[in-house]
């Protein structure tokens, strides 16, 4: 071997080893607990670490099954197996979702316990290339009885080419079978036909022309209905995925009557069910693979994109709607209005109008906005959507003195701007109505308040009468009864003044004052009622028991007579006199406090050394001086 040969050999050797060097990142294996979305279980997979990223490579297994759960109740198990290449799900994949229970029958076979299970199973299998379905994918839902397939409840078979459905597909459940086909670009084409066990011929057919659904034919009990969807195939369309949005568009397109027909449609239900199942797999695959697993059933549909003006308009409509709806809700739910409308004709009329506006304008406006939120608007011409929401055409408000909803006139409105105008007018009008009704309600609320206050005042007055009566039954000096009568007649004259007032605002204000005042008068009444007892109490307090040796009896003797006399003969009459002089509310509180304080001082002075005080009280008849001598000051003085 020459040196040249050696060099070639070395170069060839290096070239052979190079790929291993280049791609010889270490392959790790994970085996353990794994969580993917809502699925939790045990996983086995291999991966590389490239630039700190986990890159799945090789076999992927993820499953969960609990024997304990199965034996005890039910086990919700799953099993996902597949393969990854550079983080893309690639190769054969199999998904299995089970909900099994067991009848606790078991047998031993080849040293293994065998337990039979029953329940539901959903299986999906097919090939993936870089996360996208490729080749034939079969999704099956079946019922299992004693570990055997009892019946297939759903099955869809769809051919894909790099995620795009191809050729014909088949979706079936227990009673129906849908057969349809796609163009090579995945766009629905030709006739999609549903065969039903209950119909001899095809039960339902959707006719596509390069993605555009031209019509639907439904046969039920020998009757055939043709529903035109997009009969004009020349329309400009937009290619979209056949998903829930498309189905929503279809429903809206068909209108309320026809929509109900296709709501029960077999094709629609099968497509929706299939969509649901595929989404489940999509959720799993998208979670672990770089590319999403999205079956691309394509359709074409007329498209009318929203321009800037319309978008702005829709924003304004949303704003007006929000406010108008709030007004409607608050007015309709207002119990005061509900009561008031029974007696007030204007309120009745306005309330009717609010209901009408709410149903005929505000709620449809909300519907338009809902369509916008669901992104359905661009798939309809404006006039079409307006006429769908307002079957009789866009209503208008007659903005005369008696604005009412014009229900009959079928306007030829075709633009969002006109809807915006209506929304604005509606909001303005509702604001006015709200204002009018608010005043009415406020007045009624005020009147109610006045009634409550009046009730309160009357009960306060009655309380004074009760006090007076309780006086009469007792052996109370007449002076007290007279004072109480004076208080009562003062209160009555105040109430008369109140009754003669006309301005409701002023009346209400005065009533509020009177309630406070009457409260004070009631308190005065109570205090006066207590006075005779208090006097007796004081009298007893200032008595000494004295032994009279000449009678051999114990006699009571008044002590500190000047104090008790000043209290009884000067202060008490002074208190009563003050009350009779139409005492004000503020003074009422002071009066009560002075009386209480005096009583309290009388108790205290019994124990005090009052010799000097008694001297000073000699011949004193001025109540204010006596109060001062007793150290009873009006509250405001005391604070000074």
């Amino acid at each position: 071997m020459s040196h040249r040969n050696l060099l070639y050999t070395w170069i060839i050797g290096c070239l052979l080893i190079l790929p291993f060097n280049l791609f010889s990142q270490e392959l790790y294996t994970y085996s353990g607990k794994f969580e993917l979305g809502s699925y939790k279980g045990d996983a086995n997979f291999s991966y590389n670490i490239i630039e700190n990223d986990t890159v799945l490579n090789g076999v992927f297994q993820f499953s969960s099954a609990s024997l304990k759960d199965l034996l005890e109740n039910k086990d919700s198990s799953f099993s996902i197996t597949g393969n990854f290449e550079n983080d893309y799900a690639t190769g054969p994949w199999k998904f299995s979702f089970n909900l099994f229970e067991t009848e606790s029958k078991s047998s031993v076979e080849d040293l293994q316990y065998v337990v039979n299970v029953s329940g539901e199973q959903r299986l999906a299998q097919g090939n993936l290339i870089e996360g996208k379905p490729d080749g034939t994918w079969i999704y099956t839902a079946q019922e299992i009885q004693d570990s055997k397939v009892d019946k297939v409840t759903f099955k869809s078979t769809i051919d894909f080419d790099n995620g795009i459905p191809q050729r014909s597909f088949r979706i079936e459940d227990e009673e129906k079978e849908l057969v349809g086909r796609f163009l090579r670009n995945g766009i629905a084409h030709d006739q999609w036909t549903l065969y039903s066990d209950q119909e001899i011929d095809d039960a339902e057919s959707w006719f596509f022309s390069e993605g555009i659904l031209e019509r639907i034919r439904i046969t039920s009990r020998g009757q055939t209905i043709n529903i035109e969807i997009y009969p004009n195939t020349n329309i400009t369309g937009k290619t979209i995925t056949l998903d829930n949005t498309y189905l929503e568009i279809l429903k809206l397109k068909l209108g309320a009557d026809n929509a109900s027909k296709i709501t029960d449609s077999g094709i629609l239900s099968l497509l929706q069910k299939n969509d649901l199942y595929y989404q489940e797999i999509d959720t799993i695959v998208s979670g672990i693979s770089k590319a999403p697993f999205t079956p691309q059933f394509k359709v074409r549909i007329p498209y009318f994109p929203l321009n800037n003006k319309e978008t702005k308009s829709l924003d304004l409509i949303a704003d007006y709607y929000k406010k108008a709806n709030a007004i409607c809700v608050s007015l309709i739910e207002d119990t005061q209005i509900s009561i008031l409308k029974l007696s007030d004709e204007q309120v009745f009329k306005l309330d009717e109008e609010v209901h009408l506006i709410s149903n005929k304008i505000v709620k449809p406006l909300g519907q338009v906005l809902e369509y916008n939120t669901k992104s359905l608007l661009p798939f309809f011409s404006r006039s079409e959507i307006i006429n769908k929401v307002w079957e009789r055409g866009l209503p208008s408000l007659n903005s005369q003195n008696t604005p009412i909803v014009n229900q009959i006139e079928s306007s030829k409105a075709r633009t969002i701007l006109e809807v915006e105008q209506l929304a604005k007018e509606t909001f303005t009008y509702l604001s006015t109505v709200e204002e009018i009704l608010a005043k009415k309600i406020n007045r009624q609320r005020r009147e109610q308040k006045a009634i409550d206050l009046e009730k309160k005042m009357i009960s306060q007055l009655q309380y004074l009468e009760v006090l007076e009566k309780s006086f009469e039954t007792d052996t109370i000096p007449e002076a007290y009864i007279n004072t109480l009568s004076t208080i009562k007649s003062n209160a009555r004259s105040k109430l008369n003044r109140y009754a003669s007032m006309e301005d409701l605002e002023e009346k209400l204000k005065y009533a509020e004052e009177l309630v406070v005042c009457f409260d004070a008068l009631d308190n005065i009444g109570e205090t006066i009622l207590k006075l005779p007892n208090q006097q007796n109490e004081i009298k007893k307090k200032y008595q000494d028991d004295v032994w009279n040796p000449f009678t051999s009896t114990v006699m009571t003797e008044m002590v500190k007579k000047r104090i008790t006399q000043a209290y009884e003969n000067v202060l008490i009459p002074y208190f009563l006199e003050k009350v009779e002089q139409d005492i004000s509310c503020d003074d009422s509180i002071k009066w009560i406090q002075t009386v209480h304080k005096t009583h309290q001082r009388m108790h205290e002075m019994r124990e005090e050394n009052t010799r000097k005080l008694e001297k000073k009280l000699r011949k004193e008849k001025d109540p204010l001086i006596i109060l001062e001598r007793f150290q009873v000051y009006p509250i405001n003085k005391e604070k000074e």
């Binding site: 004295v546 032994w547 009279n548 040796p549 000449f550 051999s552 114990v554």
Partner: protein, 271 residues
């Protein structure tokens, strides 16, 4: 002095002798009631509290007798000064012990004897109180040991005992109880018996029937006025009964000069 004494003794003996002679000669068959004499008594009764259970009795009585010109308030007959220390045993019983100085005035204008002689007594009394309904009843036993003498110059002191029992009621008129500002009626009967050497056939000294009308000003001050009929044997002649109609004015006062703190608890005693 000795001569005077002899004369006095001779006089007494002669008198006794003459009585005996009379008795022997002509024993009386019936009593003789003298004409009633009108009198006025102004009595002050003081009960001064000196301790929780002790009080000082201080009574001063001014007793007037009719003269020919003036009934009732004629002339001063006696002035009493009665003092004692009393003990309050309970609300229903108290007793007192003390002395009396009575000044006796000679009411006989023609008498050549002394105008004023003193009389000394030791007295003790036992007072029982009985409440009944809204009234009060009292039993009073008073025993007096008295030394009296005549107006005649050089008279000796005679010792006698007086046995007195009084039954009295006080009936409130304008109030449920005997309380300040109450008018009351007070009927009273007192029997006074006497004993002692000088008492011969005349133990019945006095029967006093007295009705008064009083007003309780305060627990410490009461005024009353009444009329009293009394009769009794004269000491020297058991057959001769003297009679009196006495107008009586009473002032009762019972001050308590103790300090306030000592008064409390005041008089509830055993309650």
């Amino acid at each position: 002095m000795k001569g005077n004494l002899r004369i006095y003794l001779v006089f007494i003996l002669l008198c006794s002798y003459s009585v005996q002679i009379n008795a022997q000669e002509d024993p009386p068959t019936e009593s003789e009631f003298k004409e009633p004499v009108t009198k006025l008594w102004i009595n002050t009764y003081g009960n001064i509290r000196i301790a929780k259970r002790f009080f000082w009795v201080a009574q001063t009585h001014f007793r007037f007798e009719e003269t020919e010109q003036t009934p009732f308030v004629g002339q001063v007959a006696q002035i009493y000064n009665r003092h004692a220390i009393g003990y309050i045993y309970s609300k229903k019983f108290n007793f007192s012990l003390g002395g009396v100085l009575r000044l006796n005035f000679n009411t006989d204008p023609s008498s050549p004897d002394r105008n004023l002689v003193p009389e000394w007594r030791i007295w003790h009394q036992y007072m029982f109180a009985m409440p009944l309904s809204n009234m009060m009843f009292y039993h009073r036993i008073r025993i007096e040991h008295r030394w009296t003498q005549d107006f005649a110059e050089g008279s000796n002191y005679d010792f006698r005992n007086r046995w007195r029992y009084m039954f009295k009621a006080k009936i409130p008129l304008n109030s449920p109880t005997l309380a300040p500002k109450t008018f009351y009626l007070s009927p009273e009967a007192e029997l006074i018996m006497q004993s002692g050497k000088p008492v011969v056939g005349s133990p019945f000294e006095d029967l006093r029937l007295h009705a008064s009308f009083g007003y309780i000003l305060t627990p410490r001050m009461t005024v009353a006025a009444g009329i009293m009929y009394s009769q009794g044997q004269t000491l020297s002649d058991g057959t001769a009964y003297k009679q009196n109609w006495t107008a009586r004015l009473h002032l009762y006062f019972s001050p308590d000069f103790r300090k306030v703190k000592n008064k409390l608890p005041s008089i509830h005693l055993d309650d």
